[in-house]
Amino acid sequence: MHSFGYRANALLTFAVTILAFICAIASFSDNFSNQTPSAQIQILNINWFQKQPHGNDEVSLTLNVTADLQSLFTWNTKQVFAFVAAEYETSKNALNQVSLWDAIIPEKEHAKFWIQISNKYRFIDQGHNLRGKDFNLTLHWHVMPKTGKMFADKIVMSGYRLPNAYR
């Protein structure tokens, strides 16, 4: 019972158990953070709006994204993945979510930003339903922790509308 092997085994088991426990507590502490993120998105310009040869509508937009995600960062946060998605409904699809832009925010200091971008990913519909379409622009964020549970949330901004005709 007192050989080196047994002692090493007991020590290792204890160390691993304590480590797992600490990771769990670190993750649990994220539940107590007070989160007040804010964001605004403005469409500056519809660059073009076409029906592609394969029959699907495609839009190119320039957006102005202002956001303050600093309150999402806790001591257990490794990075925050933020993205803007256009969300709308069509007669065939109950929900369409198309990510237009995303960014990885590694530190709290970078989490308050103002950026003007054209869509990073192509905004293509399944079909040609986008003329005159009302849609929401939602800023989603996914908090990736140093250890433990990941959590995500979003701010929905509605009231955007695509033009009635191609241009």
């Binding site: 990771c23 699809n93 929900l95 198309v98 990913y121 399944q126 990736m144 433990g148 990941m150």
Partner: protein, 180 residues
């Protein structure tokens, strides 16, 4: 002659009993590990409740050697979720983020397009030939939790199988030579 015969018999019987006990103990350990694994599969609803990150396509969030806890619920797949999926023809599952989701109004089936955070292009090139979207049956689970570095053990054992054999051999030796 009688004494020697008796002694030899008693020695033989002790050995067999001890051997059987150790074999059963080993069997119990292996079986309880299997029970825990199967129970995890049931509880999380995913075929592989824990996966190891093997590539750098999700850096800096997930690095090679991290492990991810997966869960598969009936809730619909939404954009931004980190999904683990397998493609027909590839055996290794891929862990990427859903960037586009189109959900049918009538059947509730989804078309999902994924992309690794650290990749410049989306995953169309990784899907099977002619496949443009992932469907629910391709997706094994959503990542809900994460532990860094723990998966290196698995990566080392897969890439250098010698270490796996050495480890199992050493464990076996420890079990056999322990007297109590």
């Amino acid at each position: 002659m009688g004494f020697i015969g008796e002694t030899v018999d008693s020695i033989k019987s002790i050995k067999i009993r001890q051997l059987l006990t150790q074999a059963i103990t080993l069997g119990m350990i292996v079986t309880s590990a299997l029970i825990i694994w199967k129970a995890l599969i049931c509880v999380t609803g995913s075929e592989s409740p824990v996966v190891v990150v093997l590539s750098e396509s999700m850096e800096p969030g997930f690095q090679r050697g991290d492990i991810l806890f997966l869960r598969m619920t009936k809730e619909p797949i939404r954009a931004g979720e980190i999904v683990v999926f397998s493609v027909d023809g590839r055996e290794i599952p891929i862990v990427h983020r859903a960037i586009k989701v189109h959900e049918r109004g009538d059947t509730k089936e989804v078309d999902v397009l994924t992309k690794g955070d650290n990749n410049d292009i989306d995953d169309i090139g990784l899907y099977a030939e002619g496949q443009l979207w992932l469907h629910r049956h391709h997706i094994m689970g959503r990542a809900v939790g994460f532990l860094p570095y723990v998966g290196w053990v698995t990566i080392i054992m897969t890439e250098k199988p010698i270490i796996k054999y050495i480890l199992i051999g050493a464990l076996g030796l420890l079990v056999i030579t322990s007297k109590d």
